[in-house]
């Protein structure tokens, strides 16, 4: 879980959690702790007081790669239920603005509930299809935490094998390409975006990035993450991807003991 240091200091939140019998183990990521809790975090006072956000360690990675700064104007194009949105607002010390967008109304409700629970004041919530987000202003940073087939959610199978399954009936890569291209167009010159998924499927990762590199003057940036990672791949089952994809990062559950993630940093030249 992440400690939310908006209404209280980290120390106060830790003391409250310990008084409720939660055992906490620190991680390499600021505010993130591995916890042993009996039952759901929703049974904790700290939850109802908006002092914690239950989320996996890996979900911090796209936000750390984007590195939003106080004063930035940030867009989170696929934001609900708000784990990464609220993490960004916390890192920005609530200075600057985060626009949190999602296209599913039921999920927007979960997003606004989380913003209220944590008490954050610098988030604007919008309800657009990511592909059609209005081109009204240039953002400093944009997060595209894309809808994906999500097999990264599963760790390893019962017999220790890595689970890997193809996307569902919806054409996810087509949706992901549309959203990523619009995100790039929404960046100001010199701005940066992060494209992330919780799948290992190259068609939804390197494939989507290769599409963007073919359509726009985008630069893939390297990144030194706080958890063990592998490079992006440049070929899979006979399909070749742009060599710049090597600078992306793939996080596997067996190396990080958390869910899988794919993270790409992309810059728009000045």
């Amino acid at each position: 879980m992440r400690l939310v240091t908006v209404k209280a200091s980290g120390r106060q939140v830790l003391d409250l959690l310990r008084s409720e019998g939660v055992s906490l183990e620190s991680t390499p990521v600021k505010w993130f702790y591995r916890v042993g809790v009996a039952g759901a975090p929703g049974r904790l006072k700290a939850y109802h007081l908006g002092l914690i956000y239950p989320q996996t360690l890996a979900s911090a990675l796209p936000v750390l790669a984007l590195d939003p700064r106080p004063g930035d104007i940030v867009l989170d194009l696929c934001a609900a239920p708000g784990g990464k949105t609220t993490h960004m607002a916390q890192l920005m010390e609530e200075r600057g603005v985060v626009v949190a967008n999602d296209r599913k109304f039921a999920r927007i409700t979960a997003l606004t509930a989380n913003i209220k629970r944590l008490g954050l004041t610098n988030i604007l919530v919008t309800f657009y299809r990511g592909e059609r987000f209005p081109l009204e202003c240039g953002f400093d940073r944009i997060l595209v935490d894309a809808p994906c087939s999500g097999e990264g959610k599963y760790r390893v199978g019962e017999r220790g094998e890595m689970l890997f399954s193809r996307g569902r009936a919806t054409n996810l890569p087509a949706i992901q390409k549309g959203i990523l291209k619009r995100a790039f167009d929404l960046l100001r010159p010199g701005g940066e975006l992060v494209y992330s998924t919780c799948t290992f499927n190259p068609e939804e990762n390197e494939g989507v990035l290769t599409y963007l590199l073919g359509k726009r003057e985008a630069q893939v940036l390297g990144w030194d993450p706080p958890l063990p990672a592998c490079e992006g791949i440049t070929e899979f089952e006979g399909v070749k991807y742009d060599p710049a994809c090597r600078r992306c990062r793939r996080f596997y559950p067996h190396q990080t003991d958390t869910v899988g993630f794919f993270v790409a940093r992309v810059a728009k030249p000045r």
């Binding site: 908006v6 200075r95 603005v97 606004t112 008490g119 004041t121 919530v125 919008t126 657009y128």
Partner: protein, 126 residues
């Protein structure tokens, strides 16, 4: 520094930013934090505003023990002799935490204004 933003029923509190005017063109579902709601001609602070900014209140705070807060959640109101509160909305505090609002009525009654999810949880857990 904060700005306030209003709709017919709610007042929102938004952290001030030089860049906010750039975002005027978007259709906004929620701006910042819901701060107050108009209820029958009165302004009621939201639970989230109480939790976030209640620490700054100098009066109209009612301190309860955890089991009193639980009773408030189960029974809907509690009675007691509290000092330093005027009739109207008050903040509910246990130990060092503000949970949300109550409605203080003379003489010595507090009516629960906490959200359903919190009431249910308090009733079951504490």
């Amino acid at each position: 520094m904060y700005d306030f933003c209003t709709t017919s029923r709610k007042i929102y509190m938004v952290r001030r930013s030089k860049k906010m005017p750039l975002l005027n063109r978007f259709r906004i579902q929620q701006a910042g934090l819901p701060f107050m709601r108009r209820v029958a001609g009165y302004l009621k602070p939201t639970t989230e505003a109480a939790q976030r900014f209640g620490f700054a209140a100098k009066k109209n705070i009612i301190e309860l023990h955890e089991n009193e807060l639980k009773r408030l959640c189960v029974e809907g109101e509690v009675r007691g002799a509290w000092q330093g509160a005027d009739c109207g909305y008050v903040f509910l505090k246990t130990a060092s935490w503000i949970w949300g609002c109550g409605l203080f009525l003379d003489p010595g009654r507090v009516v629960c204004q906490l959200p359903k999810s919190m009431k249910r949880w308090f009733a079951g857990k504490l």
